[in-house]
């Protein structure tokens, strides 16, 4: 079944031996978008803008949304290994990838395993590296709504906040959050949201242009983790967006898009 809405479609594809839910939209060079720990948030303004220059591929990770759970996946590195086969089956060749939070961690794990598969990496507030100052906010000690709210410095001033976190979420939305939380839990419970070996492997990305984006007031993953990423990946750039929490793509879409366009369009 394919759902079409304006610039995007949603379908179930058979990839890497599993039914994978795939949102696809836009035109131009392919850009793989890896969603965060709460799942694909729906087609937002930043997607619409990115779709003017790229064909977006937004799969739901194993166990999220409409993609089947893989019981053997015991952690992020397992998921990353499986995801490389998803890319094989998509047959897109070398592509750009953009990952948000848990999806940024996933992008980093995939890239260190197989750097030649990726042209450029955009990591937006990625998990995966332990901050040197502060700790990663424990999403499992609060309910979904409280976690999503904490992701924003100022939810009231965020235009699309109500769209991703309505005051009265539908039962379907609540269920999708619970499914996402359970899968995020399977990927990140212990050690929480990071992998101690990842910083040592990130050096392998020395020839992969990497942009790291961080909200300066990120209350979920402290900025020091971003500095850790930047130091671990030779030649990477860290851009810090002020007055912004953990979701710059939603809270500060102009600044976010400007940084991303500049980075992806440069030779």
């Amino acid at each position: 079944m394919t759902t079409t809405s304006g610039t995007w479609t949603e379908e179930i594809l058979e990839l890497a031996g599993t039914k994978v839910q795939m949102v696809k939209g836009g035109s131009g060079s392919p850009l793989l978008v890896l969603h965060d720990e709460m799942g694909h948030p729906g087609w937002l303004r930043f997607h619409e803008e990115l779709a003017k220059h790229h064909t977006l591929y937004i799969p739901s990770h194993a166990g999220f949304g409409g993609t089947g759970r893989l019981d053997w996946i015991m952690g992020m590195r397992d998921l990353a290994g499986w995801y490389l086969e998803v890319l094989d089956d998509l047959g897109l060749g070398q592509i750009d990838v953009m990952g948000f939070s848990l999806g940024g961690w996933l992008a980093a794990e995939m890239a260190v395993m197989c750097p030649d598969r990726f042209k450029k990496l955009v990591l937006v507030g990625p998990a995966g590296v332990r901050p040197t100052q502060g700790e990663i906010y424990d999403m499992f000690l609060v309910v979904a709504k409280e976690f999503i709210t904490t992701c924003f410095l100022d939810p009231a001033k965020t235009a699309e906040f109500q769209q991703i976190c309505p005051d009265e979420p539908t039962p379907e939305q609540m269920e999708a959050w619970e499914v996402a939380r359970e899968e995020a839990c399977r990927l990140s419970w212990r050690p929480y949201m990071h992998n101690p070996s990842l910083p040592h492997l990130l050096r392998r990305l020395k020839n992969t242009p990497t942009k790291i984006l961080w909200g300066k007031q990120d209350a979920i993953i402290p900025l020091s983790a971003g500095e850790g990423f930047q130091q671990a990946i030779p030649g990477s750039q860290l851009s810090i967006i002020d007055d912004c929490g953990h979701r710059p793509e939603v809270e500060k879409p102009e600044e976010f898009l400007s940084e991303v366009h500049q980075f992806l369009s440069s030779p």
Binding site: F140, V143, C185, R186, W189, R190
Partner: protein, 424 residues
């Protein structure tokens, strides 16, 4: 009828500010142990052990312990330590652990050894229950909640094998891996200590117990949903091709006996004061809804009727923070607290036994804000009047316990084979 005694061993500290009817709210995992007074704790641990000794003297068949972590409502963070002491200082009563939190053990071989030692030192008086634990336990010991049920089942299979099969053997499971299993302590009871399963929430767990022919104990749940859950067990047993009976089912609830009705009410009201377990119906305290619904801990769809009541009380679905506590008067009304003099208490206990038909019961007493004196008065009157009367009622109602009729076969157990633990 098997009659046990239980208290959750609350950390009762008047000076902490978390104690008493008007104390600060106790939210899960939100109370810093900065307030912990080790000298006071020494008095409390010894008090609770003394009360267990007296409970044995007063004729209880079982002394029940439980375990929770990082919380003032239960001081039994390492229940097996208390059980080890009871193994040495008591003589006759069963030591009923309800139970060890199987999924949080990364090394269940250590549990095999500890429980075998308790069984050997007590000369075969261990009843070894398992639980899955609340979200608090998963967080406190940092064990994956999403594998809770898998780890529970694998740990159970491993422990039973380690208790019964000759070693050494290998174990290469999904969650547990051993190259050399050969514990140098084996259980006193053969083939192994009885395994019981207490619960309040999970339909999976209840069905598992029924399938394994393991007695299932409902913990302080309300009467109607408890009866429905018991019926689920009986139906599941019938599907498994055996007949379950009272010997397969147990019920724990709050019973306090006192010298006068006035004293009984004074003490009974203390159940809902002080630090008490917010997860069980009728207690005060604030549940963290995220902890109550850790991802994957319990199936969101396969819960028992008892939990449906609990989540409704929290505002439905557990997504809204709330207080589970029901007023004292309501609990008296629906018999989830029974307190009074022996004369008024005995008919109410009879009512519960008639309605639920359990073969094992546990009187939960000495909890909340109750003092040692409150607990001891009640224990004495239970021994002198209530326990003898309840045994007669149980005979009259034909409610055999699991040491009288085998829960696996529904066949009578000869008295000598049950170590004479249950006086009937």
């Amino acid at each position: 009828m098997f009659i046990g005694y239980f208290t959750e061993r609350p950390y009762q500290d008047q000076a902490s500010g978390f104690f008493g009817a008007t104390g600060k709210p106790i939210m899960d995992l939100m109370v810093s142990n900065d307030v912990y007074d080790s000298h006071l704790a020494a008095d409390l641990y010894n008090r609770f052990l003394d009360e267990k000794l007296y409970a044995e003297e007063m004729g209880f068949d079982g002394l029940m312990l439980n375990e929770h972590h990082s919380t003032p409502f239960c001081m039994g963070g390492a229940m097996n330590v208390e059980a080890s002491i009871l193994a040495r200082i008591t003589k006759r009563a069963k030591i009923v652990l309800l139970g060890n939190i199987l999924p949080i053990w990364d090394d269940p071989l250590w549990l095999v050894e500890q429980l075998s030692m308790i069984d050997v030192i007590s000369r075969g008086r261990l009843v070894s229950g398992w639980v899955r634990g609340t979200g608090r336990e998963s967080v406190a010991h940092n064990i994956e909640p999403h594998h809770n049920w898998e780890r529970f089942q694998e740990a159970h299979e491993f422990i039973v094998k380690a208790w019964t099969d000759p070693g050494p053997f290998r174990w290469e499971g999904k969650h547990y891996h051993y190259r050399h299993v050969n514990p140098w302590v084996k259980p006193y009871q053969k083939p192994h200590p009885p395994i019981w399963l207490p619960g309040v929430v999970s339909r999976d767990s209840l069905m598992w117990a029924a399938e394994k022919r393991i007695p299932y104990i409902m913990l302080a749940t309300e009467m109607d949903p408890t009866k429905q859950a018991f019926q689920l067990y009986h139906d599941a047993a019938a599907e498994q091709g055996y007949e379950s009976g009272p010997q397969n089912l147990g019920y724990l609830w709050k019973v306090h006996v006192d010298e006068t009705e006035e004293l009984a009410e004074q003490a009974g009201r203390k159940y809902v004061q002080g630090p008490s377990n917010p997860f069980l119906a009728g207690n005060e305290g604030t549940v963290n809804p995220a902890l109550a619904n850790l991802p994957g801990l319990t199936s969101r769809r396969r819960v028992l009727p008892t939990q449906a009541v609990a989540t409704a009380a929290r505002g439905g679905g557990g997504g809204v923070a709330g207080v589970l506590g029901r007023p004292y008067e309501q609990q008296i009304e629906d018999h989830t607290i029974i307190c009074g003099t022996p004369k008024t208490v005995i008919p109410k206990i009879r009512h519960v036994l008639e309605y639920l038909r359990p073969g094992s019961i546990f009187f939960w007493d000495g909890d909340g804000a109750m003092t040692h004196e409150d607990a001891m008065r009640s224990l004495r009157l239970m021994g002198e009047e209530v326990i003898p009367a309840v045994r007669e009622i149980a005979k009259d109602l034909e409610l055999p316990g699991p040491f009288e009729v085998d829960p696996a076969t529904n066949q009578p157990i000869p008295p000598e084979a049950s170590n004479g633990a249950s006086a009937g």
